[in-house]
């Protein structure tokens, strides 16, 4: 991610617009990006300082380019690089040796005289000779551990120039979020993924749903209820790539500007063409789910419509997104969760969710093989909404239970 100093954004009509390179207006950046990648690919052995200076050179002819944009590209390239950090402390050892040797000649003067007889050039040559090398070689290694003088060891990033530009656009959006106070996501799909990654980023959610089934997920942090704070902005920025990988969402962040208490709105959506480096989420968590969905589609039961992960059950900060939702024309709703794992922790958390949302119609599908195990907990076997299956969950079995389920 970029540092906050590298963020570029424009304010217009209450909106915050992060710097963005568009193919239409910035097509020539593809050529610069290609040269930047070439610079780093061929740059093993060069120092950061040299690489950054060379990168600046590439932008020299570019009329419309702020310095921070160039520095941001350098940061993104550095992030994908390994630099020789001199972990064993060779440079520090060399410094201690050279400086201690030089100490008895202090001060090194430009021109020696009768009082101060140690000329800089002479002493340096003598030290180099004593260490069996040249002064140039020593000078080259003396500060090799200092960040600007570290040498590139390996560059592993960005397959194409387009990837670098895509990363840049996302990075500027992330940097714009560093001072965000809250983040609202309107989503119709991938709710489970969005909530999971928000939780990993330690954000606190508030959930509601409108009449069309769009969920509004409002994210901020624990202290946000006490005061407007940007302290969770970095967490929101970390969360953004996960959101970008999802489908069917739009978001709006409230971003603080300076000390005056003003805020600007940062709006993004799945249709903005921002490309996440993360792959899109798998459509199904398991083969059992995929097969069941296919079987259901083939059997086409007209009375019930099925959808995937479209309902979020929530109570305080606990959420439960069952795998499938069955909606009857008359308004009955039944939920289906497929037990996908067998670890005690997983089953315990499933049990907690089912007990928390007792007032909902929830079916739980579990394989016979799991139920036969000696140590499986009795609550699972006794669960009223349990559906057993052998090799795969069949649509017809679920349909039968839907009809039996409490009216």
């Amino acid at each position: 991610m970029l540092t906050k100093e590298l963020a570029i954004a424009e304010c217009r009509d209450g909106f915050l617009l992060p710097d963005r390179l568009y193919r239409q207006h910035h097509g020539h950046y593809l050529a610069i990006a290609e040269q930047l990648l070439e610079l780093y690919r061929a740059g093993v052995g060069q120092t950061r300082r040299e690489l950054h200076a060379a990168a600046r050179k590439l932008f020299e002819q570019e009329q419309d380019c702020p310095l921070r944009r160039i520095d941001a590209f350098c940061k993104l390239l550095d992030d994908a690089s390994t630099f020789d950090k001199d972990r064993r402390g060779a440079a520090a050892q060399l410094r201690a040796k050279v400086f201690r040797m030089a100490a008895k000649f202090h001060p090194l003067v430009v021109e020696a005289d009768s009082l101060f007889e140690h000329a800089e050039a002479v002493v340096k040559d003598e030290i180099a000779q004593a260490l069996g090398t040249t002064w140039e070689s020593i000078s080259d290694r003396l500060f090799a551990d200092v960040i600007p003088y570290q040498k590139l060891a390996k560059f592993t990033g960005y397959a194409t120039p387009g990837d670098l530009l895509a990363r840049y656009n996302v990075a500027q959006c992330q940097a714009a979020l560093y001072r965000a106070q809250s983040l609202t996501v309107w989503a119709t799909e991938d709710l489970k993924i969005i909530l999971r990654y928000a939780k990993l980023a330690r954000l606190v959610h508030t959930i509601d749903e409108d009449r069309n089934g769009t969920h509004r997920l409002y994210f901020d942090g624990p202290a946000s209820v006490l005061r407007a704070t940007s302290r969770y902005g970095v967490a929101m920025a970390r969360f953004l790539p996960s959101l970008l990988a999802c489908r069917g969402w739009r978001m709006e962040a409230k971003v603080a500007m300076g000390r005056g208490g003003w805020t600007r709105r940062l709006c993004l959506s799945a249709d903005d063409g921002l490309r996440s480096a993360l792959p899109p989420p798998e459509e199904f968590d398991s083969q059992v789910e995929a097969d069941f969905a296919a079987d259901w589609a083939a059997s086409d039961p007209s009375e019930w419509t099925m959808s995937r992960e479209t309902v979020v059950l929530h109570q305080g900060q606990k959420t439960f997104v069952p795998d499938f939702v069955f909606q009857q024309a008359q308004g009955r709703r039944v939920l289906l969760e497929i037990a996908g794992f067998w670890t005690p922790e997983y089953l315990a958390s499933k049990r907690e969710s089912l007990e928390r949302f007792l007032h909902e119609d929830i079916l739980l599908a579990a394989p016979e093989s799991l139920l036969k195990q000696a140590n499986v907990e009795p609550w699972l076997r006794d669960y009223p909404g349990l559906i057993r299956y052998k090799t795969g969950l069949k649509a017809v079995d679920v349909l039968r239970r839907l009809c039996e389920q409490r009216p």
Binding site: I8, E10, D19, Q63, D64, C65, P66, L67, R68, R69, G89, A92, R95, A96, V98, F99, R100, A102, A103, H106, P107, L108, V109, V110, L115, F116, E120, V123, K124, I127, S139, L142, F143, D145, V146, I147, R202, V204, H205, T206, G221, P222, A223, V225, L226, S230, R231, R259, G316, Q317
Partner: protein
């Protein structure tokens, strides 16, 4: 009144929470001071962690049955306390702080703030977090705690996250990790506490339960006036020892000598050309918009190549001032003049610091130095193995250099705080020797203006001028 039951006070990521209380119950118990706000997202009452002591006091006062699940305070016993006996003013500071057990102690640099803090830590024997501005100081605290209390403290910062009952950290790390650290310390020590009230850094105090808080500073005032927030972030000023009271007694008598240098012909020509570029640009902008401020430039550089080149010219100007060749020549003269006396050189930038280090082959103390190398350089200077060292901002505050009586400033900014802190470095009394601070600046440039501003500070009274 609502029924008495078992309630739990919890720490949640830098905040305190209390569940299952009605608004009437809250209003009844916290009638004097009610910090609680309802948090419908998690169905709890919530407040900032720093309210902990007052919350506890009010709960205890009314004998409510609340189980305290908030704190995670381990028992601390310092294995070997060996602290020097305190001087009168230090003893006074200790006694004053111990009355409320929270507050700011103001003492000039070099008058033994660290010893006051160590004494208080040894007295209280509670889990303690020591927060300092830079990692050099963090490591110095680590060493002083080991020497004085025999305790090997944990370190949070500089890529380490090792929390122990006594831990040292920096302001940035303390604020970043406040949601995880806030319930684990009973005493907070804020070294150079004027760094605390920043928007983000204040979370280090705000998100902590610690009832005991000690702020240390020579210069508590901030230009933005936010030191007023110390009253709740730390506590009131409990002790204040002005610099005039100690000059010549505890601190060494000192003298400031200002040495003007000139840019060489080449530098001057380039400097004038760059100045003209910048002036021209600002002039044009003011014609278009009389309200134009130089500060707005950075925002503009995104869209305007002319603004960009003006900024580049300005930066280049600064680097010419900072790295004027003449400064190295003056430095050579000063090294000649003070041969045999350890000297500390403060550079205005890392680039200049490296240049001095390469030119004179003296060690430079910069952020790249690890714990070990830092120690080696500082010990080496004290033992006389090194004749001098050069530093950038790193040494600005509080790093101990007891033997140094000569310092040279060859670049820096105009902030009064920085000036006084820098003086603090050489003000350490050692025998009868008087300390000298040389300030080497380019005449007829912005640096000269900065120096004039710096001399408004009372610590710089009586500056002499000298041409070399």
């Amino acid at each position: 009144m609502t029924a008495v039951g078992k309630y739990h006070l919890k720490f949640d990521q830098g905040t305190l929470t209390l569940a299952d209380w009605t608004s009437e119950g809250i209003a009844g118990v916290f009638s004097d001071q009610n910090p609680w706000l309802w948090d419908g997202r998690a169905n709890v009452w919530r407040c900032d962690a720093w309210h902990y002591s007052s919350v506890k006091r009010q709960i205890d006062l009314r004998a409510w049955q609340v189980e305290d699940w908030a704190t995670e305070w381990p028992v601390v016993q310092f294995p070997q306390v060996s602290l020097p006996s305190l001087r009168t003013h230090q003893r006074e500071a200790v006694e004053r702080w111990l009355e409320p057990k929270s507050g700011v102690v103001v003492m000039p640099t070099g008058t033994g703030k660290t010893e006051v803090a160590l004494k208080l830590m040894a007295t209280l024997q509670v889990p303690t977090l020591v927060v300092s501005p830079v990692r050099d100081l963090m490591y110095q605290w680590h060493r002083r705690i080991l020497q004085g209390l025999g305790y090997d403290s944990g370190i949070v910062g500089d890529t380490a996250f090792d929390v122990r009952a006594v831990t040292v950290t920096t302001y940035d790390s303390a604020a970043i990790h406040a949601p995880k650290l806030g319930n684990r310390f009973q005493l907070l020590v804020f070294d150079e506490c004027h760094h605390l009230p920043g928007d983000f850094r204040r979370d280090a105090a705000r998100m902590s339960l610690a009832p005991y808080r000690l702020g240390l500073s020579a210069t508590p005032e901030r230009s933005d006036g936010r030191h007023a927030d110390f009253s709740w972030l730390i506590g009131p000023t409990v002790y204040n020892l002005p610099i005039a009271d100690v000059k010549g007694t505890i601190l060494a008598d000192y003298e400031v000598v200002r040495i003007p240098v000139h840019l060489n012909t080449q530098e001057q020509a380039r400097y004038d050309q760059l100045s003209a570029e910048v002036r021209q640009f600002v002039y044009q902008r003011k014609q278009e918009d009389p309200q134009f401020r130089w500060r707005e430039l950075c925002a503009e550089s995104a869209l305007d190549p002319a603004a960009r080149s003006a900024i580049l010219a300005f930066r280049h100007k600064q680097s010419i001032e900072d790295r004027a060749t003449e400064k190295l020549r003056v430095l050579e003269d000063l090294f000649r003049l003070h041969t045999g006396t350890p000297i500390v050189v403060f550079a205005g930038s890392n680039a200049m610091a490296f240049e001095v280090s390469r030119r004179f082959l003296v060690p430079c103390l910069l952020s790249h130095c690890g714990k070990k190398e830092r120690r080696e350089i500082l010990d080496g200077l004290q033992a006389g193995d090194y004749p001098a060292l050069v530093a950038n901002q790193v040494l600005d505050e509080g790093v101990d250099l007891p033997a140094v009586k000569v310092a040279v400033v060859i670049g820096g900014t105009a902030s009064t705080k920085q000036a006084r802190q820098r003086l603090g470095r050489i003000l350490r009394r050692s025998g009868d020797a008087k300390a000298v601070l040389y300030e080497v600046i380019c005449s007829e440039t912005n640096e000269a203006k900065r120096s004039r501003r710096r001399r408004d500070n009372d610590a710089y009274q009586g500056t002499r001028h000298r041409r070399m």
